[in-house]
């Protein structure tokens, strides 16, 4: 370890949470760090759609207004970033992915989430259904800010937060699990924070 710097405190670290709530290797923060691999997109809501596709075919699609008309839930979740910060008790509002996939009909084992700006991430369908994932458009009582993925992002809190794709525009149903953006560059295909599945080979 590097020599400790006199008087330098880890300011953003929040008090330790109760045991069992923070995965190994993580520390709790009070702010909400912004991480991005590219510029913040700004798709106008009138042009925004969310699609479920398969084999290049559109199975179902929603405009912003149509998404807003779907049954939405309030979610409180702990989120864990692979860069080792965790934020507890975050509040969201969004449409369960179950609702979207059921409307589209699906029989594939995997999805690839795709986003404005070209970001992608892969997940098993099992991990975005059964009440485990949402398309979230509100955060902390207000509209999701662009730097945090607004107008809407995928929210999959049980996996590392790079799987909660910002600026999500749809899910592509797939027969095989193919690596998305960070998975291609060496991150884990699944990303379970409780098993510290950060990088390929973990």
């Amino acid at each position: 370890m590097s020599p400790v710097t006199r008087g330098f405190q880890h300011l953003r670290r929040a008090p330790a949470a109760e045991a069992g709530r923070v995965p190994p290797g993580q520390h709790v923060v009070g702010d909400f760090p912004v991480l991005s691999a590219g510029p913040t997109p700004h798709t106008p809501l009138e042009d925004w759609t969310f699609s479920v596709t398969q084999d290049g075919q559109m199975r179902e699609s929603w405009t912003w207004a149509e998404l807003q008309a779907l049954p939405a839930e309030t979610i409180t979740a702990d989120i864990h970033c692979v860069t080792r910060w965790s934020k507890l008790g975050t509040q969201w509002r969004g449409v369960p992915v179950d609702v979207l996939l059921e409307a589209a009909g699906y029989d594939a084992p995997y999805v690839l989430a795709f986003c404005d700006g070209g970001y992608t991430t892969n997940l098993p369908v099992e991990d975005v259904t059964g009440g485990k994932a949402w398309v979230a458009f509100d955060y902390d009582g207000g509209p999701l800010p662009p730097e945090h993925g607004g107008p809407a992002r995928l929210l999959v809190p049980h996996l590392y937060f790079w799987k909660s794709a910002k600026w999500v525009r749809g899910l592509e149903l797939r027969d095989h699990d193919a690596p998305g953006f960070w998975e291609t560059y060496g991150y884990h295909m699944y990303g379970d924070p409780w098993k510290e599945e950060r990088y390929a080979g973990d």
């Binding site: 590097s2 020599p3 400790v4 953003r12 670290r13 702010d31």
Partner: protein, 247 residues
């Protein structure tokens, strides 16, 4: 152009802080005595690494404020939501040890042999590497024409003002104050724009060599503006800081 070799891998070393000098209300200059400093070029930077007692580390890059041949110094601005700058500007004191590595950079550097005329554009704390360039120009007795256009929020926010206001062998300094001006101010006001550049920058026909440093938005505006005045893009060198949190 003389180039200094990078000695193999860049390694972290410990430097003793020899002084911390207040430049403005939120800016300090930290003079350093590294264990093994190979010397530096005007415009280069160094990386600083801080380690908390829980093992958490934070790294930041800071431009070197001193000229080649002078003791190494960095100038740091306290950023409101900063994680590192509040420590460096308010807690650090002479006698402390700081981990650093450097010097770093081979693009945003100037030697007298590179010529000019030099057009330097500073946005806020972007003035730091440009001051190293101006000091190097002065210390080497270079007669390359030089002009600094320095955008700051207010006059008290101008870093190195006493030094800049002296006539340095013909280096001209032009300020623009963007947020407020002292009574009787006859200088420029408002953010950098094409009109100010047309008035204050060397003409494109002079084939100037430009160095622009500051927040990303300032650099983009300035670089586009100079190219718009006819500066060849390859003679417009840029170094961007983030809008928050420095580099």
């Amino acid at each position: 152009m003389e180039r200094r070799a990078v000695r193999g891998r860049l390694t972290w070393q410990v430097a003793t802080v020899t002084s911390v000098t207040q430049e403005t209300g939120s800016v300090v200059t930290i003079a350093l005595d590294p264990a093994d400093w190979p010397g530096h070029r005007a415009g280069q930077h160094l990386d600083v690494r801080l380690t908390a007692d829980d093992g958490y580390t934070a790294e930041r890059s800071y431009s070197i404020a001193s000229a080649p041949g002078e003791p190494v110094a960095i100038t740091v601005e306290r950023l409101e939501d900063g994680e590192v700058s509040p420590y460096l500007t308010e807690e650090l004191r002479a006698g402390d040890k700081l981990e650093l590595r450097g010097p770093i950079g081979g693009y945003f550097v100037w030697e007298p042999a590179d010529g000019g005329p030099l057009m330097l554009l500073a946005g806020g704390s972007g003035v730091v590497p440009l001051r190293s360039i101006l000091r190097h120009r002065r210390r080497t007795g270079s007669d390359v024409p030089a002009r600094l256009l320095y955008s700051a929020r207010t006059l008290p926010d101008v870093i190195y003002r006493g030094e800049l206001d002296q006539d340095h062998d013909g280096a001209q300094v032009i300020y623009t104050l963007t947020r407020s001006q002292p009574p009787g101010w006859t200088g420029h006001t408002g953010r950098l724009d094409q009109a100010l550049l047309a008035e204050a920058a060397w003409a494109g026909e002079a084939n100037p060599l430009a160095f622009i440093c500051g927040p990303t938005s300032f650099v983009e505006t300035a670089a586009a503006g100079l190219v718009g005045l006819g500066y060849p893009p390859e003679r417009v060198k840029t170094e961007r800081f983030g809008a928050t949190g420095g580099r």
